[in-house]
Symmetry: C2
DNA sequence: GTCTGCATGTAACTGGTTACATGATTAT
DNA sequence: ATAATCATGTAACCAGTTACATGCAGAC
């Protein structure tokens, strides 16, 4: 997939402008699918060319006009078909893992700092997600789309929690290696 | 970053051909950074144009010649600099989360099947990673690059474990919603 | 005779990023 | 004054995917 189906999903939930969509990509949807505003506008145009979305221009006073997009029937059909298709291969691309693996070819202290920054980022995410989870006081009673939103949120919490735990492990590992360091020139990489 | 530094990292560990690198992207490195063979060759060419890698052509009998790549001094410098730079923003793109969020616009049964497939995939990864971890019998005594490889592996285990747990939660949630289903026409999405 | 592994690439395309561009309103 | 928010986009570029292309060796 690409950003297309994330936009289709959002518009299926409620109509919106390119601006509103790109703000969502910075916030809620952005937690599992990121996009810049430029790409959002480009994709909306493409989706419109394909007949999957429609828009109405809404004039405003003291503001630029806005285009409020809605799903077309064809768009609704495409979204339904896409949901039924199996998901593509999971492609992980984690720069931090590559950096940790390469740490001994550079400055380990800088890598520790980078891992700490990542840890704080995910700790912040985790706190935010747990705040959102308060809106679901009785998870066992959820149904339909509200349940689905809750399950996605649980994914964010599970991932952020795992990321924080892993970062802590990496920091502890790299720092304890630092204190036990040997004089330079002594390669301990295979000890 | 991009695939460039993953290749530089691998070549810093040991020289290799494009073919060997692309096989690694299917296996070890591929667990945290994926790439096709076409992209590997393209990037090696670019890296060579930039003077970051060098190669020697090795003729073989009954096989095509191969190009064995090594890091140049400039490549080693670039890798060192890159390790010291902070990592770019973490960009998550998870198709499955979008699909779960969109489930009520399509066929929930198909989504359950997709989640089950993802669960099996990560359970397999987890088993493989735990097998690799056997090569590190005494983690507390590790140092330098071997410690770094172990920490990256721990990241894979932590992530795969979290992914399996989350998939199980999603499957249980979607299946229990199914058994408690109401007659069609009754929208329960905000109950 | 078919498939897998070794070994290399080119070409066309799609998806996504970065830089540039405009302009009013509201809050500090 | 300055920054943030609302609102839209174009242009150039870079990264990555898919399809196409070649050819030998060895195993089944």
């Amino acid at each position: 997939m690409s950003i297309e189906h994330a936009i289709l999903t959002s518009l299926a939930e409620r109509p919106g402008t390119g601006y509103e969509l790109s703000r969502q990509f910075d916030r809620s949807i952005g937690h599992f699918w990121s996009a810049t505003h430029q790409q959002t506008y480009k994709t909306l145009k493409k989706l419109h060319d394909q007949g999957l979305v429609e828009f109405q221009t809404v004039p405003q006073d003291g503001r630029p006009d806005k285009k409020v997009y809605t799903l077309s029937e064809a768009g609704r059909r495409e979204l339904r078909d896409w949901v039924g298709r199996p998901a593509g291969a999971w492609r992980l691309r984690d720069e931090l893992s590559v950096k940790i693996r390469a740490a001994s070819f550079g400055d380990v202290e800088a890598v520790i700092a980078t891992v700490k920054a990542r840890r704080e980022l995910f700790a912040d995410y985790l706190a935010a997600y747990e705040g959102y989870a308060d809106e679901f006081p009785d998870p066992a009673s959820l149904h339909g789309s509200k349940l689905h939103r809750y399950l996605v949120l649980r994914g964010g919490i599970t991932l952020a929690d795992a990321m924080v735990a892993w970062c802590d492990e990496v920091i502890a590992g790299l720092e304890s290696d630092r204190v036990s360091e040997q004089p330079p020139g002594h390669d301990r990489s295979d000890e």
